[in-house]
């Protein structure tokens, strides 16, 4: 029983990371109306930046602050230099552009850090486990749950309780109306992309002590982020969390009994949900 409980906890921890990925992607996709195929690569860059920064500085916490900010800056630059010119063209060219970026980023990772991945230990205070009564559980994973939960909460507060968050939600609903009201829509786009990139970057950074880094991590995460958005709906915070937790827990439970199927199950769950509810969990658009 405690084994199943531990697996469910594992699922919640990875599920929260999936939710962060999906949330960032759904902000970018919802507001900019582009298919962001570079989202997984941004996740991978966040992970590698954390590993490098933590090794250079020798402090995990500073690295955890710096690495996602680096990814956000990268996102800012990508929007400002490239994507900004592509709002008027079709999704096909936008896709090609972001896919090209993903290739450039993931190949650059191989050129800079090498083709072989490596693992990374959590900071000393978060090593070892904690007795939760029903099971003994790694501290770092508990930290990831709390941290991801806080990030989701802050994003939610930002979107629901601040003026700029309200503008962002309005941007998802109706861009023309927002710009008619005198709001600089281009600035909104830049901010949204940087914010989405930040969330991908911090999800990547938080993953490192659990799974280490490897050049393929970006693509794997891209598909998962798509699943979260397809199930949860664009710009739907609750949807992203629900979808992230469902596939995270499903994956962890299947991994316990049938390891080979643990990745396939993510997509199988998505297909099954869509068979019953083609419009996704909460049925927007």
């Amino acid at each position: 029983m405690s084994f199943v409980a531990a697996q469910i906890l594992n699922g919640i921890a990875t599920g929260m990371l999936y939710a962060l990925m999906g949330l960032g992607l759904s902000l970018i996709t919802g507001i900019l109306n582009i298919p962001n195929f570079a989202h997984g690569a941004l996740f991978a860059v966040g992970a590698y930046l954390l590993a490098s920064a933590a090794n250079e500085i020798g402090n995990f916490w500073i690295a955890l602050v710096v690495a996602p900010l680096g990814v956000a800056l990268l996102g800012l630059a990508i929007e400002y230099v490239g994507i900004r010119r592509l709002y008027a063209v079709g999704h096909d060219y936008q896709l090609l552009f972001t896919f090209g970026l993903a290739l450039i980023l993931s190949e650059s990772i191989i050129l800079i850090w090498g083709p072989v991945g490596y693992s990374y230990l959590p900071p000393p205070i978060l090593r070892g486990g904690l007795d939760l009564g029903f099971t003994f559980y790694p501290k770092y994973r508990l930290f990831v749950m709390v941290m991801a939960g806080l990030l989701v909460l802050v994003t939610w507060l930002f979107l629901e309780k601040t003026r700029y968050g309200a503008i962002m939600r309005a941007g998802i609903e109706n861009k023309e109306m927002v710009s008619l009201l005198g709001i600089d829509i281009h600035k909104l786009f830049t901010v949204a992309f940087a914010l989405g990139a930040y969330l991908a970057g911090i999800a990547g950074a938080l993953t490192v002590p659990i799974r280490g880094v490897n050049p393929g991590m970006g693509v794997d995460m891209l598909g998962i982020a798509f699943v979260v958005v397809a199930l949860g709906g664009l710009g739907n915070l609750l949807g992203a969390i629900a979808a992230g937790l469902i596939i995270g827990v499903a994956q962890a439970l299947v991994a316990a009994y049938w390891t080979e199927a643990s990745t396939v199950v993510i997509y199988a769950v998505m297909a099954a949900v869509l068979l019953v509810r083609p419009q996704g969990l909460f049925g927007i658009r």
């Binding site: 582009i34 195929f37 079709g90 999704h91 096909d92 060219y93 090609l96 993903a102």
Partner: protein, 308 residues
């Protein structure tokens, strides 16, 4: 109308003189793959980023039957077309119910479902190592092991595919698909069942992909894992877009350029996807419209100069 056809015929004859027959065959195989995608992308306005699902599934199934049961080449091609169409029907059923960005993301996610299945099902697919040992069967006493003979076989199938696709896009069905591309709501209002026609386009596109997949497996004697991965899905989208998705011949020209370039560059540098990514970015920022459009713009520019 006649001129492109003659150009293609001439290139079919000249190509093996310039490049290795294997690459020449790959070009026309990829062109068949591109024709299938372009029915979706160019004619129906559906950007599918999961075409390798059908290409790879057909290659694996037909490859398995060729390898262990030594089936006849025509049967293998037929099975490939069937598997391509059937897998496209499954994927399409889930995808056509959503539109826009959701649609694109779903095609990719379902592609991942098939990819990871192939990746993990090592007893059948060979996982990361691919499925080797696929024979090129002897047919009607002709030995397809000779690369040039196989090239001729591929070329004939390519011409048949091109003709079939031409007939499809010029048929009433093709016109309905184009109507959906132009204005989905209006097509619905006129009384067409839009999701059903989208699904039909998906299935036809899948059949072409399946044919290409089996030819690819027989050409190289192996089904590599990439054949069912997002890499192939992306490559065919790119090839079609550089050729120009607005024309029937766009994907043909695109795969010609794409395969030729990638086969010559990928042998030089292992990190060539980096260059590919840069090419994507440059094409999107500066050369939108593809080769066909650039070519017609060039002719327009020339004829306007001659008039002056």
């Amino acid at each position: 109308m006649k001129r492109p056809f003659i150009l293609i015929l001439v290139s079919i004859f000249l190509l093996p003189l310039v490049v290795r027959p294997a690459i020449a065959s790959e070009i026309w195989i990829f062109a068949i793959f591109g024709l299938g995608l372009n029915l979706l992308l160019g004619y129906t306005g559906l950007l599918s980023f999961g075409q390798s699902t059908f290409f790879g599934s057909a290659a694996y199934v037909a490859g398995w039957l060729l390898k262990f049961y030594g089936i006849n080449a025509f049967l293998a091609l037929g099975i490939g077309v069937g598997v391509g169409a059937a897998s496209a029907a499954l994927v399409g059923y889930l995808c056509v119910q959503r539109s826009g960005l959701y649609f694109i993301m779903l095609t990719f996610a379902l592609n991942q479902l098939f990819y990871f299945t192939a990746y993990q099902w090592t007893s059948v697919t060979g996982g990361e190592d691919g499925m080797p040992g696929i024979p090129r069967p002897v047919l009607l006493g002709i030995d397809f092991k000779d690369p040039l003979v196989y090239y001729a076989f591929v070329s004939v199938l390519f011409l048949i595919s091109l003709y079939a696709m031409k007939r499809i896009v010029e048929s009433p069905l093709g016109k309905i698909l184009q109507a959906i591309r132009e204005n989905e709501i209006r097509a619905e209002a006129v009384g067409y069942n839009v999701p059903r026609f989208k699904l039909l386009a998906f299935i036809i596109g899948g059949a072409f992909s399946g044919l290409a997949g089996v030819l690819y497996a027989m050409l190289f004697g192996i089904v590599p894992l990439e054949a069912i991965s997002f890499v192939f899905s992306g490559n065919v989208v790119f090839a079609t877009l550089i050729g120009g998705s607005g024309s029937l011949y766009g994907p043909v020209i695109g795969s010609f350029v794409f395969i030729w370039l990638s086969e010559s560059v990928s042998t030089l540098w292992a990190r060539w996807p980096l260059l590919l990514g840069m090419a994507f970015v440059i094409v999107v920022l500066f050369l939108r419209g593809g080769i066909v459009e650039a070519w017609s713009r060039f002719w327009l520019w020339r004829s306007s100069k001659q008039k002056n």
